[in-house]
Amino acid sequence: MKLLSSAEQAVVNKDFGEIWNTRMARNTIIIVPLIMVLFLPVMYLLMIFFIPANQMNGVDQMMQMLPREAAYFSVKQGMFYIMTNVVCPMFFLMIPLMVSSVSAASSFVGEKERGTIQTLLLTPLSIKSIFKAKVLSCVFLSAVATGISFLVFACVISVGDLLLGMPFFLNWNWLVLVLLLAPGITVFGVIFMVLVSGKSKSYMESIQTSGYIVLPLVLLFVGQFTGLFQLNALILLVIAAVLLVVDFLLWFVSARSFTPEKLLK
């Protein structure tokens, strides 16, 4: 059974073109991953290398965050470990969240703003097919951006690991993050935007609203720095499972609210 009919495939291709032609969406899809997985980790690595540890503030507090299995690390190794396992996950999860929400904003709200949604609704495609094609195009785009970002990230961190003589960074935390949490966040970003699209009148307005969904992510990782809790694979697995259930439920809610009458309001 084909995932998409030829007509749905046409909508997906058209959406890719439209998202890519929206300057803000294109910039976000390119620049956010570059900053999160290349620029920031490289800068941090350079800082660890070239600035003596005794000249940096808060190194002792950071070292206290090291788990038992990393207690034997040197200061430089410990700082790099913290970056890889505490700071970078938040940076990394920003990618599926931002890419999915800006793509969805362009695909759903942008189409409404440009006055083309009515034309699309007048095609023989069912409303369910339009919804499916649009959601999948955003999810696919976000998944590709996330996948490529992870490969780049893995390269950067592996170089750091080699230079600092540390074991390969990939652990259960990262596996849960990449294979479950990132897809869950991608779908959430798209569906959140679908729900917002009914109320947003412009692309920019919807992008501003999407800022709210970054907050829980920031709080989750700030919580770690303050010592409130320590995220491990199990907690991440639970969060991912909850998120996937929420995604599943929101998919139905948003699909039901995706009606011509609401879209043409």
Binding site: S6, Q9, T116, Q118, T119, L121, L122, P124, S126
Partner: protein
């Protein structure tokens, strides 16, 4: 089977006022129906209800016996819809736009290419086929919208103000395309417009809608006889000459006729009574005359 039918179709957006109120009509297949009314009368709302973009508050409608609420996709498969608010993709070229809509209508790539080329040539857009839509003029974009509505060879064409904003040449090209379609393929055309001169040239029957209510319907003859609008005999005489019982207006002596058949006898009588007739003409009421009479009558009734 009617092409379009509505029974007590009512739509309210806010639950207080009805944008469309108790609309009932039946349009036979193959006819070119002019749906006339001022802005905000309910024409676009009606098209949206017939094409399943809106759900009626009360009543129901069918398009080729299909219910647009229950089966919008099938209705869209059989219909072509062109409205002022349904735009196409600015970043795609004319050809790409048509190919996209051909694909969504289930046409194969070859069929889509063939049909798109045919329509682009017919609507005088061939030379602009590889230009992006955002570079098109209003008239060209409007013609491309018509091409889009025709891509799936529809049995019914809903056109909401297809010539608004067009220069006379473009309007004429769109109108002749609509006439061709109706004559050669038997496509039913549901034309919403307030450009009454074009409507009179194109349509064989009409509905006049005002403030959400259908106030009259039928052929031009029916509309005329129902409102009591009659043909007039008009004569231009030698300067200084006059006719008793006739009204004088801009150099013409006019009188209303019970029937058009009275004209030859009337002319004969005037000539025989010694008047020099320079010109004689039978002035039939135009759609515009009838339309304004109905709207005036509606206001007076209130």
């Amino acid at each position: 089977m009617y092409a379009v039918s509505a029974k007590s179709l009512t739509k309210s957006y806010d639950g207080k006022t009805n944008a469309l109120n108790d609309l009932s009509l039946e349009i036979p297949q193959g006819s070119v129906y002019g749906f006339l009314g001022p802005n905000g009368a309910g024409k676009t709302t009606s098209v949206k209800l017939f094409t399943g973009l809106l759900k009626p508050t009360q009543g129901e409608c069918t398009v080729l016996d299909l219910n647009p609420v229950k089966d919008p996709s099938e209705v869209h498969r059989l219909c072509g819809v062109m409205t002022e608010t349904a735009r196409m993709y600015g970043q795609l070229t004319g050809t790409q736009n048509l190919l996209f809509f051909a694909q969504t209508a289930g046409l194969s790539r070859e069929e889509g290419n063939e049909r798109a080329s045919e329509l682009l040539k017919k609507l005088d857009l061939w030379d602009a086929r590889d230009k992006k839509l955002r570079e098109y003029s209003t008239g060209m974009a409007q013609r491309l919208s018509l091409a889009r509505a025709l891509i799936n060879r529809p049995q019914i064409l809903f056109l909401d103000e297809p010539t608004s904003g067009l220069d006379p040449e473009s309007a004429q090209s769109v109108n002749s395309m609509i006439t061709d379609l109706a004559n050669s393929t038997g496509t039913t055309v549901f034309l919403c417009t307030h450009q009454l001169r074009y409507a009179q040239d194109l349509c064989d029957s009409y509905g006049i809608i005002d403030k959400g209510k259908l106030i009259a319907g039928g052929s031009l003859e029916n509309l005329c006889s129902n409102i009591g609008s009659r043909a007039k005999a008009a004569f231009r005489l030698q300067e200084g000459d006059s006719l008793d019982g006739f009204d004088y207006d801009s150099g013409w002596w006019q009188t209303e006729l019970e029937q058009e058949g009275q004209m030859p006898k009337l002319l004969k009588n005037i000539v025989e009574s010694g008047h020099d007739v320079y010109e004689a003409r039978l002035v039939k009421p135009t759609l515009e005359d009838v339309y304004f009479e109905y709207l005036k009558h509606q206001e007076e009734t209130k």
